[in-house]
């Protein structure tokens, strides 16, 4: 391993690029499995095509995986598929078979590199690899090698489950088929398929389908083999080596990831010329789904019929923001409260969180996300699969209904969206062999791990990084109230650094006052100002620390409204702007202005100024047609105002956000 590691580090970049593409393809390829086929979607041929597509473009969009994932597993949108891939990545195992044999010393390399993963499989080396890999991930990993498991302690899929995850296996088989010589491929593929079939108890027609899938796989494999044979002669040696190296690349992050990458690499390398089209498809899938546009009448009507929460639409809405939901504030709460005992579909814990969102008791990306996950944890704990139903599907459907309930209470933050995606992925990836109680326990521990690793630990890391940027005598400006920034300031204070804090605040939430109270209570030296005074106060500021609701792929920071103003003024005064944001809040969406996507708050908060009775000129105008009150919640800060983004992966420039989104997305899905 060691020897490989060094090369890996060198080669990493290349490998990574390739690696990302591949996974989505596999999922498609994986589809031949009974489950996937039943679910719908491209099926085996697609799989072939996709790999080739991968090979074509080194630069691809990470999201495709999710979308692709969603296809194979009907209910589970994104995360599930990645997980499967992991198991598939076992497919990486086939790399050894594919590449090693032709290129370098296959046997030596494969065993050593994959040793942990590869138990001695019953079916074939490949199959073995697959199985082994999957176990490795899982904690139990009874059969699994410790090494793999160690890398992914958190993940904990059941290995046994892995077997169940026939899908990955099938994928593997298909993939492997391509590269392998026809005969081998047949055997391997068949073996895998069968395994898969066996494991997939659920699908009745599995056998037939599998056979079809087999045939297709074989045909394609043969075709691919021919193409590959030509291509490989020239290209493979290099690629193969790179792939191998790639396996080693990210030992820390997770062997699984590496495996996946290998698979992808190998696939890509072997079939560069096969097909571009599938890739295109995948890419399209990757693009984040368009959000609901509330100026679309028919869709709004549909949504209303499903809605649990009764909401009256605000009458007097701003023309520019018709595409965003806006409701009369205060109408939902009493309605919801009265329904408390009638709403069976919503778990009480979820219901409680929803009410807290509605009333604004919980705000802030992290707090909302944690509250939601805890509620889901509760809900899962109390969940029992109805008879005749599949736990994975039913639970996912349940969760989806919870989520739509939460959305009705308040639109999801991007961090919550990411967390939900993660959770659904985990559910989709649950091994079918798991008993219900085991599955539930597993999911609950997954959620806990997500909270602790992606949020709490991430914050700690961010604090550690950010504190190095605070020096004695600094004047630090912050806007609003960001939990990460608050932790940074408090930690720096504990370290005995001498600095002053400027808290800039704005209406209508005046969250800065809360932060001010806490900081002053801890003995920090504070200055308080409104956002209008920011250019007055900026002269004395040496650094600006900002929190973020999300960081988008083009480097845009999506955050509390006013952040953009502060960053702009700081930029004009040549003051560095540091944005603190956990990496789980990163999103592949892009945004140029604050209008296309935003959230509207209660308009009445604008016209009323608490504590200032003299400001009442708008009291009687609320019903006027001509007057509209606009209470934006977020805005988008252009990336050129931002000097640095501090995340749990380190301190990066805004241009590196897409890289992080792409590179760490999968790992984050598995945890």
């Amino acid at each position: 391993m060691d020897s490989r590691r060094t090369p890996r580090s060198v080669i990493d970049p290349k490998v990574r690029q390739v690696g990302f593409f591949a996974p989505p393809d596999r999922t498609n390829s994986g589809q031949p499995d009974p489950i996937s086929s039943s679910s719908s979607s491209p099926s085996p041929p697609a799989a072939n095509i996709s790999p080739s597509g991968n090979s074509l473009s080194p630069v691809m969009i990470p999201p495709p995986r999710h979308s692709s994932d969603s296809r194979p597993v009907p209910f589970v949108p994104h995360p599930a598929s990645p997980l499967r891939r992991e198991s598939i990545p076992a497919g990486s195992s086939y790399n050894p078979s594919d590449f090693y044999p032709p290129a370098t010393s296959p046997t030596a390399a494969s065993p050593s590199s994959f040793a942990c993963r590869m138990p001695v499989g019953g079916y074939g080396e490949f199959s073995e690899d697959v199985v082994a890999l999957s176990p490795g991930r899982a904690f139990r990993g009874s059969s699994v090698r410790a090494s793999a498991s160690s890398s992914f302690p958190g993940g904990g899929f059941d290995l046994t489950a892995l077997k169940a995850s026939s899908v990955p296996a099938s994928e593997l088989t298909t993939v492997s088929v391509f590269n392998l010589p026809p005969g081998i491929a047949e055997k391997a593929g068949g073996a895998f398929v069968e395994m898969q079939n066996d494991r997939h108890v659920s699908s009745k027609a599995a056998k037939e389908k599998t056979t079809k899938a087999e045939r297709r796989a074989l045909q394609e494999a043969q075709r691919a083999a021919k193409a590959a044979a030509k291509a490989e002669g020239n290209k493979i040696p290099g690629t193969g080596s790179s792939a191998v190296t790639s396996v080693n690349v990210k030992p820390a992050k997770g062997v699984k990831a590496a495996l996946q990458k290998n698979d992808s690499v190998s696939v890509a390398a072997s079939e560069k010329k096969v097909a571009d089209r599938p890739v295109e498809k995948d890419r399209k899938k990757d693009v984040p789904q368009p959000r609901m546009q509330y100026d679309d009448r028919s869709r709004v009507e549909k949504a209303k019929r499903r809605a649990v929460v009764y909401q009256t639409e605000a009458r007097n809405r701003v023309e520019l923001f018709r595409h965003l939901p806006q409701y009369e504030h205060g109408t939902q709460l009493p309605d919801l409260e009265s329904k408390f005992f009638q709403l069976d579909p919503v778990h009480p814990a979820v219901y409680k969180v929803g009410l807290q969102y509605l009333s604004g008791n919980i705000s802030g990306g992290n707090a909302r996300c944690i509250a939601m996950l805890r509620a889901f944890q509760e809900a899962i704990k109390d969940y029992s699969t109805p008879p005749e139903k599949n736990l994975g599907r039913d639970l996912t459907a349940k969760l989806s209904s919870y989520v739509s309930f939460l959305i009705e209470c308040r639109p999801l933050s991007i961090s919550m969206g990411n967390a939900i995606r993660f959770l659904k992925g985990r559910i989709a990836k649950l091994p079918l062999t798991l008993s219900e109680s085991e599955a539930k326990a597993l999911l609950q521990s997954d959620i806990s791990r997500f909270i602790s690793e992606k949020i709490i630990l991430a914050d700690k890391v961010i604090v550690k990084h950010a504190v190095t940027k605070i020096r004695d005598g600094d004047v630090l400006l912050t806007y609003g109230s960001s939990s990460a920034v608050e932790m940074i300031l408090l930690h720096a204070h504990e370290l005995g650094k001498q600095f002053r804090v400027v808290i800039v605040d704005s209406r209508p939430k005046l969250e800065g006052q809360l932060l001010l109270r806490r900081l002053v209570g801890k003995g920090l030296n504070c200055t308080y100002a409104h956002i209008n005074a920011v250019s007055y106060i900026m002269h004395e500021v040496s650094r600006v620390f900002l929190g973020a609701s999300s960081v988008l792929c083009n480097g845009t920071v999506y955050s509390r409204v006013g952040t953009a103003c502060v960053a702009m003024v700081a930029h004009a005064f040549r003051v560095p702007v540091l944005v603190c944001c956990e990496a789980y809040k990163f999103h592949e969406r892009v945004q140029l202005d604050s209008i296309c996507a935003n959230e509207l708050g209660d308009p009445d908060a604008i016209s009323k100024v608490p504590g200032r009775e003299d400001i009442n000129s708008l009291k009687h105008l609320a019903s006027s047609e001509k007057l509209q009150l606009l209470n934006l919640i977020y805005d988008a800060t252009p990336s050129d105002y931002i000097s640095m983004i501090i995340t749990d992966y380190g301190m990066v420039p805004p241009t590196s956000v897409p890289v992080i989104v792409r590179e760490y997305r999968r790992e984050h899905l598995w945890i």
Binding site: V318, Y528, H530, N532, S617, L621, L630
Partner: protein, 417 residues
Amino acid sequence: MPDMQGLVNEFLIKLKKRKMEGSQATAKQTAELLRAVISQQRVPYSNQSAALIDAVKSVGELLISANPIELAVGNIVRRVLHIIREEDLSLTTAAMAGLNLSSVSDDDDDAEHDDHPVLSAAAVAAAARSTLRPPSLQTLLEDVPDGTAIPRTSSSGGDSEGKSKSADKSSRTRKLKHDVIEAVNELIQDINTCHEQIAEQAVEHIHQNEVILTLGSSRTVLEFLCAAKEKKRSFRVFVAEGAPRYQGHLLAKELVSRGLQTTLITDSAVFAMISRVNMVIVGAHAVMANGGVIAPVGLNMVALAAQRHAVPFVVLAGSHKLCPLYPHNPEVLLNELRSPSELLDFGEFSECMDFGNGAGSPLLHVVNPTFDYVPPKLVSLFITDTGGHNPSYMYRLIADYYSADDLVVQRRTTTGS
């Protein structure tokens, strides 16, 4: 003049206590006060203008020091001083004209109808301006023969006194004071009507279906927008509320009552909204000689956002807001901090803000400035009652209204008296 003294003191107290709101009202009251001062001033036979100037300066100095931030006061004092000088000059030229036929013809050219500027002080002032102004292209071209007038430009009270001796003194005594008061009346009139003159230009700047953003409240802006509305232009206005004074609420209310489509936003949403805005129109507290603007707090942020999105940033300012001074560190020196109670409840944080508590300075400071400085490079256009101007042209406009001798009112008086 105990009576006069009382008036001045009352005004001073108002200024010191910041009871006066708005530069227009302040300017008007200052002009009225100075008019009273002039009319009460006893004028000696000799050296009348110098006496008037001294009187105005001594009062003006008091007024300016009472509220150095309210630049309109200083502007009006300087304007009045300038008026006195001009009137004096025009009178001397007229007197010279009486003595000297050839110069009469010159005057004819400049001041078309007024051979004998006895009655119409305004016309005299206009004539005097054209002849006495420091060399501009116009005067250079038109007044080439008027060699006598140009040296007089630099003449101050002392010079004119020497010349005035040659003139008919008895007729002049009354006339100077009378003319000056007439001119000051005209100035007051100008201040009163500057809104209308600015608003008249609205149609040229506001187009159909535009989206206009403004911050805080300004009567000039209100009139401007309404004037465009009356001309059947339909457009939308975003009003940023202008915390912590929330004058945007007042403006929004006014606009709605006049039938304009108005959207009220928080100040923090300015950057979010500016990408859909066609023009930013704001009022100013004062316009400095370099084209910089002292404006209500928050406007620097708006101007930066407008620049980022290439949105024109238009400042409306009556000519009484033109200040002949160049700003130095205006964010601090030409600013004023208001009460923290506008931002925070004292009850909650009082112990943190207590200077007598513990050692040294308190933990908590609250900053609540009144004004912002918008540098000239962020301003696209000034619209004054004399038309639209570039920031770089401001210094020239100022030269029309003020004489260079008065720029530093205070030092003059201290050294002189």
